[in-house]
């Protein structure tokens, strides 16, 4: 029996040590409060579209209220999804970069994360961009409009409301914003391709994305 208890003891010590290590190396976001927005380093790395094994990753820093982001999401991203993401060439990672001069940037980002909590981040993100002109120009808090969008996406409204009211993911959003600042992001949308800044600031068409992604893949094959 003694070796059995010795092994159990080892597992307990190792398991407890591992949990302590995990909680210290990836600290959690502080709980949402009604005061200042919490600044968090919760380690969340953004919602991702596409295969884990895709050879190219694009990180987009976006603001749901930014018109350029909306235009890009509605006009270019569907083609990029079809030609590059669905074919396994590209993985897309969306990061929040709420811009200070848009009043509803953060609440719209919260709405997307609250939908993500129920597995519908991307449908909500698409809808937010698509309907941006309807809620983005309003002088009133568009939370009620977002609740209607949530209902349209068949989300559990009570959960969504509670999530939105508690600003549960404010820490994540702020951490993403700080990450963007650290990478030199000053406006949206800003793109990084496999960690490098987008090479052609004036051209963010789907065709240009295809060129860049294909050239990155071709360069990898040559090595």
């Amino acid at each position: 029996m003694k070796p059995f208890y010795a092994v159990l003891g080892v597992v307990v010590v190792a398991g407890a040590g591992w949990l302590v290590w995990a909680s210290r190396t990836t600290p959690a976001a502080p709980p949402a409060t009604s005061g200042p927005v919490p600044v968090a380093a919760d380690g969340f790395r953004g919602y991702v579209l596409g295969s884990d094994s895709a050879p190219v990753e694009v990180v987009e820093y976006a603001d749901f209220q930014c018109p350029h982001c909306g235009e890009f999401a509605v006009l270019q991203l569907p083609t990029i999804r079809q030609q590059l993401i669905a074919t396994g060439k590209l993985r897309w990672r969306l990061r929040d970069y709420p811009i200070g001069n848009f009043p509803w940037s953060r609440v719209s980002a919260l709405a997307a994360h609250c939908a993500g909590e129920q597995g519908k981040f991307w449908p909500m993100a698409d809808t937010l961009f698509l309907t941006q002109s309807q809620w983005g120009r309003s002088s009133r808090d568009p939370s009620g409009y977002f609740r209607d969008l949530a209902r349209g996406l068949n989300l559990d409204r009570d959960k969504f409301d509670a999530c939105l009211a508690s600003a549960r993911y404010a820490g994540r959003i702020e951490a993403s914003h700080q990450e963007g600042e650290a990478r030199g992001v000053t406006g949206t949308p800003t793109f990084f391709v496999n960690g490098r800044p987008w090479p052609d600031e004036r051209n963010v068409s789907s065709d240009r994305f295809k060129q860049v992604v294909d050239s990155v893949i071709a360069a990898r094959h040559k090595r």
């Binding site: 059995f4 159990l8 398991g15 380690g43």
Partner: protein, 158 residues
């Protein structure tokens, strides 16, 4: 005895995995060590809750109960009793069925595989195999059956 010790050990490992996922779910751990991001997709999906409680919490409780039953059953005082083996088999079977359901959700609905969930699935499967093996051993008249299942017999004086 040996199968109960094995189950106790495996349940303890499973307990820590489930506890890790639950701590993430309640916000005590910021990000899962997953490698692919798929764990987060699974853990933040709507299916990460079952009947109003996080799925990981069911794992924590389930593994804790398995561990305690196996540990008590491994004590010498319970070595001759069949009940712990039967309880372990019932618990392991329930856990396996629940795990099959969750694995189906990962593969067919969420389309993401969480490595920790796979680890837990492997552990509960092994626990189920060991528990069935233990049940079979008892049924075949293995260790302890004689003392517990036979009626006390008074031999007539010679």
């Amino acid at each position: 005895m040996r199968h109960r010790q094995t189950i106790a050990l495996l349940a303890l490992i499973g307990f820590f995995i489930a506890l890790y996922l639950w701590l993430y779910k309640i916000g005590a751990i910021g990000v899962l060590k997953c490698g692919s991001g798929a764990c987060e997709a699974v853990q933040t999906s709507r299916w990460a809750d079952f009947l109003g409680a996080p799925v990981a919490l069911y794992g924590v409780v389930g593994y804790a109960v398995l561990f305690l039953v196996a540990l008590v059953g491994a004590q010498p005082a319970f070595a001759t009793r069949r009940a712990p083996t039967v309880i372990l088999a019932v618990l392991a079977s329930s856990g396996l069925l629940f795990t099959l359901y969750l694995t189906y959700l990962e593969l067919a609905v969420i389309h993401a595989i969480c490595r920790w969930c796979v680890g837990s699935a492997v552990i509960i499967t092994v626990i189920w195999v060991v528990s069935m093996s233990g049940l079979k051993t008892w049924g075949a008249g293995g260790v302890g059956v004689a003392q517990e299942d036979r009626l006390p017999v008074s031999l007539p004086p010679p």
